[in-house]
Symmetry: D2
């Protein structure tokens, strides 16, 4: 069974007003997601604002989510750091805490070519007993992960899957095709939350949509429609979800880390899933007016009465 099969939300990290982790809200969010039928959880991703956490906070989040999930779904853990030995330090701690897999980006700050990036993954995987998933997120690092390199790493058993947040659908489809031709060593998943129907049609195993924090059940219905080949239903569900996704465009003139995630948090707070939409310093939460606009969209989508 593909490790990235189905809906695997990148779990938001709730904060108290004083900047500390809001673990009660994190518990509630995890129950909301599992209750919605998701197939796995991805913690310490970009949507989880991992960049703003200390190592101790990273460990606390991992420990808590694994405890709450209690084996009901696998928990995958992000490990962003500059280069392989630093990443491996995070990955080993996650493994010790019970993670099902780690999600690893290309090196950050470093300027590497494709051969060096492949070795980066090899260095990380060689030090672990759990699967490594490659995380393709070029907007946050210098490098797009190449198709041939990924399939080769899959063949070698270095990586077990790819989470694609590159926004390059042609590259994604060529990856899916090349992976299939190679005997499907990789599980392939898309972060394109507004295109999951099309991505399932072309052969994606799963999706990692930030918006699934707000509406996990919707994404699960979409996935199930795709599983049974009912593409019109999948598309209708995706279209409904996309109207909800407009919450991400409510905050205008914000930074990349403030707008979409701020809106997802505001929506979850409006639904009572987490206590507040607090953001980590130096990012400001949405304004009252923006929150009202988000809530209007959530209400229109039928999630809020």
């Amino acid at each position: 069974m593909s490790i990235l099969r189905g809906v695997v939300p990148p779990v938001l990290t709730p904060f108290h007003a004083d900047g500390s982790l809001d673990l009660a809200s994190l518990d509630s969010l995890v129950e909301h997601l599992i209750g919605g039928g998701v197939h796995g959880l991805f913690v310490l991703g970009s949507s989880g604002q991992v960049a703003y956490l200390t190592d101790a906070e990273r460990d606390t989040v991992v420990e808590r989510v694994i405890a709450t999930a209690a084996g009901r779904v696998p928990v995958m853990v992000g490990t962003p750091d500059l280069t392989a030995r630093r990443v491996l330090d995070h990955a080993r701690r996650a493994q010790a805490l019970g993670a099902s897999a780690v999600v690893v980006t290309a090196p950050l700050y470093a300027l590497n070519n494709s051969a060096e990036i492949a070795d980066h993954f090899r260095l990380v995987a060689a030090g672990l007993d759990i699967p490594v998933i490659a995380y393709d997120v070029p907007v946050r690092g210098p490098a797009k992960l190449g198709r041939d390199m990924l399939v080769q790493l899959g063949r070698e058993g270095v990586i077990a899957g790819v989470k694609d947040s590159s926004g390059d659908d042609v590259a994604f489809r060529r990856l899916v095709d090349a992976n299939r031709a190679a005997g499907s060593p990789l599980s392939v998943s898309t972060g394109h939350e507004v295109m999951c129907d099309g991505m399932f049609l072309l052969g994606a195993d799963g999706c990692v949509p930030g918006l699934a924090n707000v509406d996990p059940a919707g994404y699960v219905r979409l996935f199930e429609a795709a599983e049974r080949g009912d593409w019109e239903a999948a598309r209708a569900e995706q279209d409904r979800i996309n109207r909800l996704f407009e919450i991400a465009f409510v905050p205008q003139g914000r930074s990349g880390d403030a707008g979409g995630i701020g809106a997802f948090k505001a929506a979850c707070a409006a639904l009572g899933v987490i206590a507040s939409g607090t953001m980590p310093a130096p990012i400001e939460a949405l304004s009252a007016e923006e929150v009202a606009d988000v809530e209007a969209i959530v209400r229109e989508a039928g999630l809020l009465r």
Copy 2:
């Protein structure tokens, strides 16, 4: 006196063949640089391959260079990490080890706007007693640091200087002018190793040239010519240095972290300053043929007999 005045090389980090730090070579390199007349040292910069070091190795480098410098020149320390609290952890360790200043980039992996980046620097500076120098290196992170933000942070006393490795000379000149108009709260330094004459002419306080690891005395002569207003001599020295800089173009088809730094290391090894041109995994050192081409250029420049 400007903290970034004069020639402040970004110190290379030598390695043994087994990947461990070559501290004897580091000592030798520091003596080479101080002997060449440099005005300060910048350790754990991009040229120092800081991305490839663990925290323990970072501390070892800082401790060793400060011990070897023994107060003859100030030692500035790079602190790259994802966001402010993580950066601050590195910066405090550097401060405790005796660093004269820390050199801080915009957040990495995070996607912040200008206001958030300004707060990032405020959060770091608030936790330190030593000066903070802003490091503008957009090729390694998502953000170019804006002129108005930098001058404002200077006025607030948050940052004491700017090391500009952006390659945007117009922006640099406008920064120099705006800083002067504001009463020069900032010390401003360029990483443009082939343009130092022009940068001194327009008002740069200093330079941070990776190539100065190879030829510190040449950059010192260039700076001194500029200091006394002998611009023809400065230009002639720069032109001579630029022919030496062609070593950085010897390695073709290499990654950004492999070519230039690999050539600087090969040249230092050829000069006997460090034991070898070893690079940290997963980067490969220059080939024997590339090393020979580097040596030919170093010889032609009159540094090697």
Copy 3:
């Protein structure tokens, strides 16, 4: 009926070895396309190498294709030039020659903002009696056409459709959704030749695939499967087509104008549809070895015996 409905290939422009237009091959290609069941023709697009033609050659191509099509399918004409008055000159000539519509890019060489680009389209449309289709091809010009601007221009009756070659599928889907919400003033078509199944699923009216010069009937089958809601058949056809599309990756290290179009021409020549794969100066045609590799893929795809 949507003006961009169905399969509308961007017609290749065949050349003789001396650089002159090969009109007999152009006739043959048009018959091949119409015989394959395509719903319209788009001449003087990027695949038609319009950039390399003089005004007189542009007119000759338009005249000849309209004569050969003889009303069986509509013929749309590209009009790239720097700004509105220059574009309008081309567009009026196309109108006079019987074009069904013109396909207009954002200004070239100019550096305009969204309001200026909208006015650019208004200036062009005001001088014409035939519909204007906006051509979103940011790789060849500085500007991505914004969703809100396009829908607004549709509402005003300035443009009748959008040919999207931006490769930004999220933007395309948001355009499709916003257009539908506005009462569908626009016909929307994708240039993403390897993703047509997914684009039809999400609501595209048609596609403009360069590869359809080689296999028009395949794209027509794909479109018809999508029309009747048989998404598995659409996907299977797209997957088959995508294996054929690998011809575009045969030429390595070529320019953007040499590789893909060179491969399409080589394949059409192999099929006997055009006389040769000649390219306009200064572009070189594929090498004999590359042609052989293209032919092998075409043969494997079952198009060549």
Copy 4:
């Protein structure tokens, strides 16, 4: 003598309110520039808003400026169009009208590699009797012109000079050095109006500053100071000019074609050199408030009483 030696302003193109060419203002501007001591004129450049002119208007501008200059300074003519044969058509008309040289960009809209771009210049030059100057302006086209290609074309006699508006000073310096090493086949000129002192120091033959439309005499003083090796005077003049250049930053939130050129026109109108700051459709002229801010800076610079 270098064809690009000294100060060669890119001449603004004045318009009447109805969009037609304001030739009386053009005459006045040419007299202002020649009176200021400039060494040549460059018409139909980006600052001349060539993109917005028809072919007939291009010819009118060329004819008029050559007539007004009356042999006092050479007149160079820009010829932007998509590819070589189209460029050559403009270039031949300019030659027939008496142009001293043509200024040719890389292909537009086309996607060519370095070898194809080199052939593009060869195709243009082969059809002309007057010198070709390569215009490196990557912000308006897809391609940065490579150093080795430019020097090679200089050696072949294909091009006589390079006007560099790339903003890449390291590349410019390496071009200057490589050109000198090759025996200086090329005349090299910078479009970096705020860095001319440094560019002259490193060996530029001349400059092509848009701001020289406003203050030609200032740039001439700067050049003359550099010629006699008085670098402190050159720098002081450049610093003074740079305070004047802040007019280009007065218009905020404008397009690339609206802000700087709009400010240059507003300043020339304030000085009485041209009748108005009218811009070609669809670009709007500066607002009254912006014009007032521009005038305040011009007054502070001592150009306006």
